[in-house]
């Protein structure tokens, strides 16, 4: 355990050394990340310039949902960055290097691709929530910050589980499948109240690719506890289930791995 923590620290140092070589670019990247999230917020603001409610939700509620969404999203981006896995590790054969080392292979991969710059998005999300909260007129119970922590952790696990499972597909096919960008786009559905979608999409977002649990459901816990509280509290459970599925797929995939032969 201590060894793993020390390793984490070393990788973190390494990350900052690499990134600070191109210092200006590091900041530009953070700004562009925030711009991307700001773009979606701008969308909501523009829409509410023309309507009062969206599927029954007010502007402040929508902003709050979006703020929540940014928190697990930013944390996920920081710790589960497996986007180029197939290209870098399978096609170029770097997976062999990872597997010969005496540390859990997935842990190594996550460390190598850690991206702390993304945490700024999570921070911005917290600020947005803090801004929207007093305007919502809902009470702040003493345990709410703890619940938030629990729900956000659940959301991150869902993200992690889904993307680990999908990334493990790279062990079976040589060519990048393109399924990852597909799911990446479905995730956009989770930012808005699921009540605006039809039944099929709602079902998809709740049970199959549970992206409603990374944005809307947990956020709704704070907005409308009577109607959404129970569903929202399922978030950590769903998170654990999907993480388990992800790890199972991953370990099966690794045992199937034969190397690119290069």
């Amino acid at each position: 355990m201590r060894f793993y923590a020390a390793l984490w620290l070393d990788y973190l140092k390494n990350y900052f050394k690499t990134r600070m070589t191109y210092r200006s670019d590091f900041w530009v990247e953070i700004v562009s990340d925030l711009m991307f999230l700001g773009m979606n917020l701008f969308f909501v603001l523009v829409v509410f310039g023309h309507v009062d409610r969206l599927g029954g939700w007010t502007l402040d509620q929508m902003i709050f949902i979006y703020g929540y969404f940014m928190v697990p999203y930013g944390i996920f981006q920081c710790f589960f960055n497996l986007w180029n896995f197939s290209e870098r590790y399978i096609v170029k054969g770097e997976m062999d290097r990872v597997l010969t080392r005496p540390v859990n292979n997935l842990y190594q991969l996550l460390l190598e691709n850690m991206d702390p710059a993304s945490l700024f998005s999570a921070l911005a999300g917290l600020l947005i929530m803090a801004y929207a909260w007093p305007r919502l007129g809902v009470e702040l119970a003493w345990h709410d910050p703890l619940v938030l922590l629990l729900l956000a952790a659940g959301s991150v696990l869902i993200y992690g589980g889904v993307y680990i499972a999908l990334t493990s597909l790279s062990f079976y096919t040589d060519a990048p499948t393109g399924i990852l960008p597909l799911v990446w786009n479905i995730q956009n559905y989770g930012r808005y109240p699921v009540t605006i979608y039809n039944r099929a999409i709602r079902w998809l977002l709740t049970f199959f690719l549970p992206f409603a649990f990374v944005g809307f459901y947990p956020a709704a816990y704070f907005l409308d506890r009577d109607d959404w509280g129970t569903v929202a509290l399922m978030t950590p459970v769903v998170g654990l289930v999907f993480l388990a599925v992800g790890l199972f797929c991953w370990n099966r995939g690794v045992s199937k791995y034969r190397g690119a032969g290069s």
């Binding site: 191109y22 200006s24 670019d25 590091f26 900041w27 530009v28 990247e29 953070i30 700004v31 562009s32 990340d33 711009m35 991307f36 773009m39 701008f42 969308f43 603001l45 523009v46 829409v47 310039g49 023309h50 309507v51 969206l54 599927g55 060519a175 990048p176 499948t177 393109g178 399924i179 960008p181 597909l182 786009n185 479905i186 956009n188 559905y189 808005y192 605006i196 979608y197 039809n198 999409i201």
Partner: protein, 264 residues
């Protein structure tokens, strides 16, 4: 010389064709994106007939057509150029008897044509099946639209070139490229038609070239505008296309003298 440039379009088209499998899931991705915005706009319109001059039906068409036009004009010219600057292969390209930037443009066109034939058209067919998109019947509107997305391609590629050429000065312009992509998606009117922007934002956008990429052709197509309005829109695109040539020429001239290859 023209023959050589045309050949470049053909080669890129054939290269893309060789990897066409990668593109089929792209059609689904675009359908997902269109779907997300379709449902969102449905919820936004619920109970009202029009917003900022667009009816719900026109909005659906606008969303579908904007995304499909994006499939045509979108390319990674910025990344290609900055990669070639950084790995030094640009030095070789420069001593060859052609104009580097024209070559890049032709390759991008080959890619664009590939996407138009194998992506935009089947993608639009899928969108027609899934969502109530209404396409205009008038062939004149279609002809105008195709000319306009031609300009969209030119303007977007020019912006990409500018971003890519900044690698001469920035060493690593990953962040800048991301920023540009966000700016294009938002300010071009892809996610929200510019006419819905609040007044101050609309004023800013009106002075920028981005709206000429998506909003201008999309709104002409969705509203079925013709005559003076359509010509004016086309004129705006031509204007931006010409204006953007200036910074590209300046950047290219000054940058050539400071090519510095990082570990090439």
């Amino acid at each position: 010389m023209t023959g050589a440039y045309l050949e470049l379009i053909r080669i890129r088209f054939m290269t893309m064709l060789a990897y066409r499998m990668n593109y089929y899931n792209g059609i689904i991705i675009y359908a997902i994106n269109i779907g997300a915005y379709y449902f969102l706009w449905q919820a936004i319109y619920s109970g009202r007939d029009e917003l900022a001059g667009l009816t719900a039906g026109q909005m659906t068409t606008y969303v579908a057509v904007s995304w499909m036009a994006r499939a045509f004009y979108f390319n990674n010219l910025d990344r290609e150029i900055s990669n070639e600057i950084r790995d030094g292969s640009l030095a070789i390209q420069m001593i060859r008897p052609y104009h580097y930037l024209v070559v890049k443009m032709m390759q991008a066109l080959g890619e664009g044509l590939f996407r138009l034939l194998l992506f935009t058209i089947p993608g639009l067919a899928v969108a027609l099946l899934l969502f109530p998109v209404k396409l205009p019947a008038d062939p004149a509107v279609w002809a105008m639209f195709f000319v306009m997305i031609g300009f969209s391609f030119l303007i977007h590629s020019q912006i990409n070139m500018l971003t890519g050429l900044c690698a001469f000065y920035l060493e690593n312009n990953e962040g800048l490229m991301r920023m540009k992509r966000v700016a294009v998606d938002l300010l071009s009117g892809l996610v929200i038609p510019v006419s819905l922007f609040p007044g101050w934002a609309e004023t800013i956008v009106k002075w920028l070239p981005f709206q000429a990429i998506t909003y201008v052709p999309g709104s002409v197509f969705a509203s079925g505008a013709r005559g003076a309005d359509a010509w004016q829109a086309l004129g705006l695109q031509a204007f931006w296309c010409a204006v953007l040539l200036v910074p590209i020429a300046l950047l290219w001239r000054s940058a050539r003298r400071r090519l510095f290859v990082q570990g090439g």
